[in-house]
């Protein structure tokens, strides 16, 4: 006798969470979508004005575009540093691997605010980098590093590096070492082996990590406001200001929906494209 034949019997343990998510996640998102199409939170009527205001205005659109661009930049930088780290991890012995794993996990274990604060201390006028620049004599006075785009990207890349490194290391570890030996034995250079063997076979990990980094850095409110500063406005702060700041609830709801669709839509498309290309590669 096999226990529990029907779908309901097998699905039963998932029902409490399904019920919870329906009330605390799906229902609020449905309410958000409904409110975004109203003229006022209470006693309003249906309208598309909130959406046409956002989508018809270059300023609002540029905030959305810039937020997505930020996510893309951070994802690329994390990829650039996670691959060498992963290759080093592969070639290391068990003891060094444990140490590397701990170092990779270290940023994940400390608060985002703490990590952001660390970057403020590093980039500030009296910070590490400026002390070094002035000390070595490369610049006359302290440079403005905080509140600049390149350093915001670097800070976010550091904060989200573990989310990329963990799945990527997993993927790299699954590659058959014989393939690399064969490639080198047949006369391929290391760089060629990387491009034709390692890169395609580690794609599942890179994609999984990339999507988490992208989603995380586009919504990283704390780092965006503290390291990015007031002059760079991104979607999370925009939503917060429109909602809590000026209490334009229905407009804030519409921005939230647009932002969610943009991020989740991109994640979905990349996921699908990657799955098409990676058929046969063991995820």
């Amino acid at each position: 006798m096999k226990p529990g034949g029907g779908v309901l019997a097998s699905a039963a343990p998932a029902l409490p969470l399904a019920a919870f998510f329906t009330v605390a996640y799906l229902l609020p998102v449905a309410v958000l979508a409904a409110v975004s199409a109203l003229t006022a939170l209470r006693g309003g009527h249906w309208t598309v004005a909130n959406y046409s205001t956002f989508l018809g205005d270059a300023y609002h659109l540029s905030i959305l575009g810039d937020t997505l661009l930020l996510g893309l930049q951070v994802t690329l930088v994390t990829l650039l540093i996670a691959y060498p780290l992963g290759l080093a991890y592969l070639r290391a012995g068990p003891r060094v691997r444990t140490l590397l794993l701990f170092l990779i996990l270290l940023p994940l274990l400390t608060n985002t605010v703490v990590r952001t604060f660390a970057w403020m201390a590093i980039l500030g006028r009296e910070g590490v980098i400026n002390a070094w620049l002035v000390g070595v004599g490369l610049t006359d006075g302290p440079q403005r590093l905080l509140y600049t785009r390149p350093w915001l990207v670097v800070a976010l890349a550091q904060i989200y590096l573990p989310l990329m490194a963990l799945p990527l290391n997993n993927s790299l570890a699954k590659i058959d070492a014989n393939l690399m030996k064969a490639s080198e034995g047949l006369g391929a250079s290391r760089a060629f082996t990387f491009r034709t063997v390692i890169l395609p076979l580690s794609m599942p990990g890179a994609v999984a990590g990339g999507l988490l980094v992208f989603a995380g850095s586009t919504t990283a409110f704390i780092t965006q406001t503290l390291v990015g500063g007031g002059r760079q406005l991104f979607m999370p702060l925009h939503i917060y200001q429109q909602a809590i700041g000026v209490q334009k609830w229905t407009f804030a709801a519409a921005i939230s929906v647009i932002f969610a669709i943009a991020v989740m839509g991109l994640v979905y498309l990349v996921n699908r494209a990657a799955r098409e290309r990676m058929r046969g590669v063991d995820a």
């Binding site: 006798m1 096999k2 226990p3 779908v7 097998s10 699905a11 039963a12 343990p13 998932a14 409490p16 969470l17 399904a18 605390a24 996640y25 998102v29 958000l32 409110v35 650039l80 540093i81 060498p84 780290l85 080093a88 170092l103 996990l105 270290l106 940023p107 994940l108 400390t110 608060n111 605010v113 703490v114 990590r115 604060f117 660390a118 970057w119 403020m120 201390a121 590093i122 500030g124 009296e126 910070g127 670097v154 550091q158 006369g187 290391r190 760089a191 989603a215 919504t219 409110f221 704390i222 503290l226 999370p236 939503i239 917060y240 909602a243 809590i244 709801a253 939230s256 929906v257 932002f259």
Partner: protein
């Protein structure tokens, strides 16, 4: 020619790996060192060393301590709920390719990529339209949604390792499904549950956007309070709070890692 190319490739990889390592370690190190500064500004390296900002924290910062309590309370509730619900759900859907299981998995995992600020506003609108007052509990509900995907991922990974033959054996010997779960599945997936719980707890302690939307003065969490301090002026007390957070997390990890490690040793 190939040797030269390989040397260049190896050099680039080594350089970038070093950059990555420095990037991983430096910020934590800077924060810990900075917390022992004797100065009034975030000068690095500090001119003098002291523990004054730690004593300041405990003797003269009631708001930070209150915010820390709120964070802790919310994180404990959120972890407890997400571990129980998440473990049950993960056991039901792990390794299944049925359409319902794939769909449920998609919904349960989606908060990982759903913009948290949008979710926060969604919850705030629902609560305000339903006339429910904001409290620690409403905040905890939001955090459960944020933390659950981590539990599901960790427990699913562990549950996929459980040999289904064991459960078939138990069933053919007359064990009920609940008995089989308790005596076979649960002990085998315990490391996954513990790991999921730790990550869920850390993700709740760390979370800001939903808390920001659902915060009133009584439910201001630690990261939000620190954020307001950092926005207003670079108060050095943030460094000492950070120092404590780093110490506590590393202690918890070492403790839990040992437990998981010991249990793994026993299971094999």
């Amino acid at each position: 020619m190939r040797e030269l190319k390989d040397a260049a490739y190896r050099g680039v990889v080594a350089l970038l790996a070093t950059v990555a390592l420095v990037l991983l370690v430096a910020p934590t190190l800077v924060v810990v060192l900075m917390s022992f500064t004797g100065d009034f500004t975030l000068r690095f390296p500090p001119r003098s060393w002291s523990v004054r900002w730690y004593t300041e924290l405990f003797s003269n910062s009631p708001q930070i301590v209150t915010a820390a309590w709120v964070s802790l309370k919310v994180a404990v509730i959120a972890t407890a709920v997400s571990v129980v619900f998440g473990t049950l759900a993960a056991v039901a859907i792990a390794g299944r390719r049925d359409r319902w299981a794939v769909a449920l998995d998609g919904v349960f995992m989606s908060p990982m990529v759903f913009p948290a600020m949008s979710l926060g506003l969604a919850l705030l609108l629902l609560l305000s339209l339903a006339g429910i007052r904001l409290s620690t509990w409403t905040l905890a509900i939001g955090h459960v949604v944020i933390a659950t995907p981590f539990v599901i991922r960790m427990v699913s990974a562990a549950a996929q390792q459980v040999n289904p033959v064991l459960l078939d054996c138990a069933a053919s010997l007359g064990a009920s499904r609940i008995h089989a779960f308790r005596t076979i599945t649960l002990p085998l997936i315990r490391p996954g549950i513990v790991a999921g719980g730790v990550v869920a707890f850390l993700s709740s302690i760390d979370h800001v956007p939903v808390s920001l939307m659902l915060a009133d003065p009584r439910t201001e969490t630690l990261p939000i309070h620190l954020w307001t301090i950092l926005e207003a002026n670079l108060d050095v007390r943030v460094a000492s709070v950070s120092g404590i957070v780093v110490a506590v997390t590393i202690a918890v990890i070492l403790l839990v890692d040992r437990r998981v490690f010991v249990e793994r040793g026993r299971a094999s």
